[in-house]
């Protein structure tokens, strides 16, 4: 599952196009709400990978995490007036929404870089999903800032970025609560906002999936024809299943149970392969003859 060729890096870049697009849209608008002293070091960490050897690089993230946690601890202690040190003061960070936004945005950039530079495609897929989620929330918050009236019951004409982000998180909470308690969803944050660039994002998602399939098909040179058949069958079967389930979900949406149906379908379809996977490895059979 590893590949070092330039084409593989390019394909990973294309797979990560949706979050990269979202980042390009968000970043200029969010620049006023981030602390570059936090954002830039986090965002630059993956670039140490080509400089340092793999063994040394494995210490980079733990070391940075420990360093960052210590800074946070010191900042908390100094703001509470418990402990102060003139040398450590230069590392103090303010514990507010700017720091949180910087960390979230920094992590998104870090994950995008990691997704491109990593040797494993699973990590790239993981990066796409996690960064998409991070950035969609930020995107929604920005859109809400521009259109505060887009959300019903939100009686405000002006929202700051932290307020908008909080509003998005609150809507997520309401959505989760209504799903758990009522069994259907209410006030889906991104569904009610009617975000812009929808067609571009949809196209990028499609390009991302196609690139992923091209990457998987072109990986290595073993069993090309056999893999092509297997991959073709998987893609066709998977797409058909998705089509049927999305169709049913769409039909059930009228009764508010579409989301629940989709979620349980996805859960079921993920558990079945896991159950199949058991007892299918390392079976010792004594069938071959020897003389």
């Amino acid at each position: 599952m590893t590949d070092h060729r330039f084409s593989s890096y390019f394909l990973k870049f294309v797979i990560l196009l949706p979050p990269i697009f979202l980042l390009l849209v968000i970043f200029p608008r969010l620049w006023g709400y981030v602390n570059p002293d936090i954002l830039i070091p986090i965002a630059l960490l993956p670039l140490l990978r080509p400089i340092l050897k793999e063994r040394l690089f494995s210490y980079v993230y733990p070391a940075f995490t420990i360093f960052f946690l210590l800074i946070t601890l010191y900042s908390m202690l100094s703001s509470a007036g418990i402990y102060k040190n003139s040398i450590f003061n230069m590392f103090t960070i303010s514990l507010n929404e700017v720091t949180v936004t910087s960390i979230i945005l920094g992590l998104s950039i870090l994950l995008i870089e990691e997704g491109i530079l990593t040797k494993k495609i699973q990590r790239t897929v993981g990066s796409v999903i996690v960064t998409n989620l991070f950035l969609l929330e930020q995107f929604a918050a920005l859109y809400l800032m521009a259109n505060p009236t887009a959300v019903p019951y939100l009686n405000s004409t002006h929202l700051t970025y932290p307020e908008a982000l909080f509003a998005v998180f609150s809507l997520e909470g309401i959505s989760l609560y209504s799903f758990v308690v009522n069994g259907y969803q209410y006030l889906l944050p991104l569904a009610i906002l009617n975000l812009p660039y929808e067609k571009i994002i949809l196209a990028l998602f499609l390009i991302s999936i196609i690139s992923l399939l091209i990457y998987l098909f072109g990986r290595g040179d073993r069993w090309i024809s056999e893999r092509a058949v297997g991959l073709g069958v998987s893609v066709t079967a998977g797409s058909l299943m998705a089509l049927v389930i999305l169709f049913i979900q769409n039909a059930l949406s009228r009764f508010y149970y579409g989301g629940a149906f989709l979620l349980f379908s996805l859960l079921f379809i993920s558990i079945v392969p896991m159950a199949m996977s058991r007892n299918s490895y390392n079976i010792r059979i004594d069938r071959h003859k020897e003389r």
Binding site: M1, Q122, V125, G126, I129, N132, L133, L136, E137, A140, S175, L176, F179, Q185, L188, P189, L190, A191, I201, L202, F205, S208, I209, L216, F217, R219, R222, W223, S225, E226, R227, G230, L231, V233, S234, V235, G238, S239, M241, A242, I245, L246, G259, L262, L266, I269, S270, P273, M274, M276, S277, S280, Y281, N282, R284, I285, D286, H288, E290, R291
Partner: protein, 434 residues
């Protein structure tokens, strides 16, 4: 079986599905759903197709049960797909991890329904002994590379590696061995009365007429008859006692102490046999105890070769036990060569001298220097460390040698390259003074 990375991917996808469901962004929901379905379909199709079918493969391995060291032997693997569906897989024959393999001992194969494929590769055993050869491992992976199905086609068998004819050829070629070892001096003399003149004595009625010393007839009384006495020659029994404990299982690459000991002893056996003397052997350790009485035919050499190809060095070595075996089995006139590295030496303290069994035989102990089997150091620091270790080891071996000499066991430390020469020198010396 889903690999860890597969579980990670599924977990991330499920998390993404859940989050997208909470966020309610339709495009992202579709994106995630399609990914989940493709991944799940891939896993399910693999487990019901290729992943399951590889367990039905029929594999046959043909390999020789006895192989000579350093001579290549052919191994044939046959794969048959008894199903009607195509099976593609990767195979790896673990036989190649025991012997040096050359050729496709691992590779990728795709077989259609009912198709048969044969692959051939060669193995080159580097050391003698009996080796357990492992299974053939067959595994397949799904198109996304997140699942693996592995089947171990097991049928453990053993391959015996006999000593190489290459290492003993110089001795079996008389011209080479004369040049290298005996310098053309043949100690072979006819067995019986002998040729060397010893002296004369008065004739007795039972004596043969042909030995009468006619030039001494009547030299004292005029009628007295004398008879010539010849130096009597006897066959010498030479017994090689080898330490075959874990202690001799050292070396690197194709240089192994037990391998060297066996090949040099075989070489020495041929020299002794050509001199019309008898050879026998003892293979000794806490787990191996084998004795072959001296014979004047090369059956002993063959038996020795076969025996060592069926075992590997194992157990511990005790010179006391070996001396006991020598005392019980070997007859008094025999010449005994003990070869051991004393890798795990017993306590050679003066008080124990009296505890050692008194064998009363002509015993030569060859302590093999272990440093002949240590890989040469590649840098100066390692070289210095090695040098000090060699000094300490030599000091230890010399004290062992002194101790054994005190017991009347002629002991010397030998290097790897000198084992055969030393053996032959000692044999020649003994043959001359016998």
């Amino acid at each position: 079986m889903i690999k860890k990375s597969g579980y990670a991917l599924l977990s991330v996808l499920l998390y993404g599905a859940f989050e997208s469901f909470i966020l309610g962004y339709r495009n992202f929901v579709i994106y995630i759903a399609v990914l989940v379905f493709i991944v799940s379909a891939d896993i399910m199709i693999f487990h019901n197709g290729n992943g399951r079918n590889i367990s039905r493969l029929e594999v046959n391995r043909i390999a020789s049960k006895s192989v000579a060291k350093n001579s290549s032997s052919r191994v044939v693997l046959t794969f048959r797909n008894p199903t009607r569906r195509r099976i593609y897989f990767h195979y790896y024959d673990t036989l190649s991890s025991i012997f040096r393999g050359d050729g496709p001992f691992s590779g990728d194969i795709s077989l259609g329904g009912g198709e048969v494929k044969q692959v051939e590769y060669t193995i080159l055993p580097a050391a003698i002994g009996r080796y357990r050869i492992g299974p053939i491992i067959v595994y397949a992976s799904d198109p996304l590379g997140i699942c693996i199905s592995s089947y171990i086609l097991t049928h453990d068998t053993f391959v015996g590696v006999t000593p190489s004819s290459m290492t003993t050829s110089t001795v079996r070629s008389e011209r080479l061995s004369n040049f290298m070892l005996t310098q053309g001096i043949h100690l072979s003399r006819s067995v019986g009365q002998g040729y060397n003149f010893y002296g004369i004595r008065q004739y007795e009625e039972s004596d043969e007429f042909r030995y009468i010393a006619w030039n001494r007839f009547g030299s004292l009384t005029g009628e007295d008859i004398y008879i010539k006495q010849m130096e009597e020659e006897r066959t010498l029994d030479v017994v090689f006692a080898i330490d075959y404990s874990n202690g001799v299982n050292q070396g690197y690459g194709s240089i192994r102490m037990f391998d060297d000991l066996v090949s040099q002893v075989i070489n020495a056996m041929y020299v002794v046999l050509r001199n019309h003397d008898a050879v026998g052997y003892i293979i000794s350790s806490s787990l191996h105890d084998s004795y072959h009485s001296p014979e004047k035919t090369d059956k002993v050499v063959k038996a020795f070769g076969e025996e060592v190809s069926g075992i590997r060095p194992a157990g511990s070595f005790s010179i006391e036990d070996l001396l006991d075996k020598v005392g019980k089995n070997v007859k008094k006139e025999a010449l005994v060569f003990i070869l051991t590295p004393f890798a795990y030496p017993e306590k050679f303290i003066s008080e124990r001298v009296k505890l050692f069994p008194v064998v009363g035989k002509d015993i030569n102990v060859f302590i093999i220097n272990r440093f002949s089997y240590v890989k040469r150091a590649s840098n100066e620091a390692d070289r210095l460390l090695l040098r000090s270790a060699v000094a300490a080891e030599m000091k230890n071996l010399k004290s062992v040698s002194v101790f054994l000499n005190r017991l009347g066991l002629r002991t010397r430390i030998v290097e790897r390259e000198a084992i055969l020469v030393r053996l032959i020198r000692e044999y020649q010396y003994r043959r001359v003074v016998a």
